[in-house]
Each structure stands twice: as C-alpha cells, then as structure tokens.
Symmetry: C2
Subunit: 236 residues, 2 copies
C-alpha cells in the first residue's frame, strides 16, 4: 500500500537564536530511529524557525499599546478589527490574526515575528539537509491560522521548498474519463495540517516527517502560490 506516514520528531529541545534547524531536526530524527530519507517532506513550525532566525522581539505583556504598535508594524493592511482581535495582512501576503505575530510566549517578555522570508527559511533548511546530511527532501514551514466561517485553527504552509504548494489537477480526467472542473489542491497546507496532528501543542514537537507523498509533487514551489491575488479575493 502506498500509505502516507506522519512521524513526529521528538527531542529537538529548546531552540535559541542562531541555531541550525536542519542539524537539530536531522539529529533528533536519527536519535529516535527514524532518520530523514530522500523524498521526505519535513514540516517545521514557524515558532522554532523564528527563534533560530533572531525574530524574537521584547514585548511587555502588560502594555496593550505596545502590542498594537507591534502588530501595526508587521501589517501592510488591517483586514478586520474587533476589540483586541486584529486580522491583518502581512508583508508576505498572508492574512491572519495579529499579522502572524506569535504572542504565546509573551509572558516571557518576548513575541515571535514571522520569518522575514519563510520560503527562504525553508530553502535554507532544505539546502543544509542536502549539503550536510546528504538527503534530498522537501521542507514546509508551518504556522497555525484561523479561518473565516469555520471554528478551530489549522496549520498551513507559510514557507515551501522542494515541493509544489498547489497541485493543479484541472484538465486531468476524472474517474469517469471526463475533464474535471476545478481541482487546484493546496497540498502544502494539507501536509502542514497532517503534520500538526502528531505535534500537539503542549508536547514540544516542533517538527514532523511526512513520508510517502506523491513523487510527482516534488520540485519547485513557493508559499506565494498559496496567496490569493487581493484583486481576485472577495474577502479582503
């Protein structure tokens, strides 16, 4: 059976600014007996990527004005605002709460900003894994976003390297031999969501290996392919 496997990577430990994520993940995967293999897709949470890339900024948890200013500084457009809730578009084009700023460690005195260029972050990890560990893998940097209309958060891809973000199946014959109408599947988001299922929020699992993906999906890809053109977007 060509089944898919989603393997949590335990034991990565606390990440600090300047750490090399590729080495941390490769070592942890090896140590738990599931070394990274060619054609794996590695999903890494934004939180540790931001930490490694020095994207922590001091933020007083008791200063709502400072919080608001920080969000404004990371936003290119405020899409909606209600009370403390700010839905904003980031420089990357992502629309999400708080312009993607991770406030979950803010009682520490720090908030985590998104990577400056999360595709570049993904490429950096992919290239390091190739150069130092000899494996040809795809990398997705994931983050946890809310959605309109539906409750609950899901993980999506904010950085992509070595794999398509969206697979266009338009024009592929369906199971009855006819032409499908609209089937552009956001596989990078679906892979990020699959990975989240083994991560948990309290278990300190910031990475997962997704193994067994369709080999035709590997190749060029970018998280920009997941951003709807604002001119064609009915909701911003």
């Amino acid at each position: 059976m060509e089944s898919l496997q989603v393997i949590p990577v335990h034991g990565i430990g606390e990440v600090t600014p300047g750490d090399e994520i590729a080495a941390l993940v490769a070592d942890a995967a090896g140590a738990q007996g599931t070394p990274i293999e060619d054609r794996d897709c590695l999903v890494i949470t934004q939180k540790i990527v931001s930490k490694a890339e020095h994207r922590l900024v001091p933020l007083d948890p008791d200063d709502p004005d400072a919080r608001a200013r920080l969000i404004e500084s990371e936003a290119v457009r405020i899409v909606r605002r209600r009370g403390d809730l700010v839905i904003a578009e980031t420089t990357h084009g992502f629309v999400c709460a708080n312009a993607g700023i991770d406030l979950s460690n803010v009682d520490d005195g720090y908030a985590a900003l998104l990577p400056v260029d999360s595709d570049r972050s993904a490429h950096h990890i992919r290239n390091a894994l190739g150069a130092r560990h000899g494996v040809d893998v795809a990398v997705i940097v994931s983050d946890t976003f809310g959605r309109p209309w539906r409750l609950g958060l899901t993980d999506v891809a904010i950085g992509v390297a070595g794999i398509a973000a969206v697979v266009d199946l338009r024009g592929t014959a369906d199971d009855r031999g006819r032409i499908l109408q609209v089937t552009e599947v956001a596989i990078a988001d679906e892979i990020a969501s699959a990975a989240e299922l083994v991560m948990g929020k309290a278990a300190a699992v910031p990475a997962a290996i997704v193994r067994g993906l369709d080999s035709s999906w590997f190749g060029d890809g970018s998280a920009h392919d997941l951003v709807r053109n604002p001119q064609e977007d009915l909701f911003r």
Copy 2:
C-alpha cells in the same frame, strides 16, 4: 514511534443510490490487506455519501438558469457572488462555493447535493461498521472547499461521528509550563486534509483510513462544532 498512517482504500468502485457505504469500504479495505481496526478514523468523501443517499438531482449542463436555481434552493444565504461564482451558506451552516453542490459530474446530467445531515451520515456508517464488522471507529465525511485569502482547495469535515471535531487545548500548559492563549485545533478538518493527500482526484479513491490518532480525541463530536456562529463571524 507513535506515527500516523494514512491508508487509501482502493477498489470501492462506482457507488449507486442505496449502497451501504460501510460494507463497501470495509470490504475494500479488507481486500487490499488493510482491514479496518478499532480506533481507526475513516474518512469518506461527500461524493459517494451523497450518491448512496439518493442526493443526485438531474441538471442540464447547458442551462445556467437551472444551475442558479438549484444553488439558490440549497442556500440559506448568499455570502458573495461574482459572475458564475456563488459563495453561499448551506442549511448546515457551511459557507462554500455553489452551496456545496458538486457539479463535477454534471456533464452526466446530474449534480450531487450535500447529504441532508452529514453528521447523521457519519453516524450511520460508524454504527454499521460497529454492528456488522465489529469495529469501533470514528467516521468523517469530507468535502473539498475553497478559502478566502488562500489559493487552492483543501478537504474539510462536513460530517463527524465518534471523534471530536475541535480539540480545545486552551488552558493546557505549554512546553514551558505556562498557560496557552488560544489553541482550539480543528482536528477533524486536519484529518480530512491528511486523507485527501492519498486520495488524488483522478484515482477514484473515495475513502482513506487514518490510523494512530491521539486516543483522547475519540468520543462525541459534530461538524456543527466547526461552524462559526454567524454573529461572531467577521466575514459573513
């Protein structure tokens, strides 16, 4: 390793009105050597559920007015409209293109409506698997929805039985022993997305087994838990 497995179920074949989905999926899973086990979560696409439940309606592919009338009849609210594109709220509370009507087989002369009550559909399949095949499983009925802001479709849960739709991790200590702020994870949607990765659109795989989910997630759940209260929704 407590890894997750996602196993496509091949060989289900064409589903016709009145078919018993539970039997078709259980037989096909057994025939391919991956019989359904306790604590599996079975993901079944809306398309075959609608077919089995007599939710096919005749629709002339060359009659756009008939198409518009059908969409209106399934919608309780039109959220946005641009040209042929209609984003509408269904009686279930789902917001999606064409009020959830599956037009991909319409050149056959038929469109598929959503199940009348897709939670009930999921419960029916779950109960039949328990009664006739002796397995205690969760069931998710999945459909393919678009999203604002992001390109590409992802699969989400429109019917849920035997598993939580949203897991509330608010108040669970994070990896540094502090209280998390907002972590309600839409696991049913993430499970549907994970399943989609092995289904493909052209490969006639309308079901998948997701094995290895957190055992604490099994229990009561409903796709209604995934519907944001319109009064609290900033985008409808």
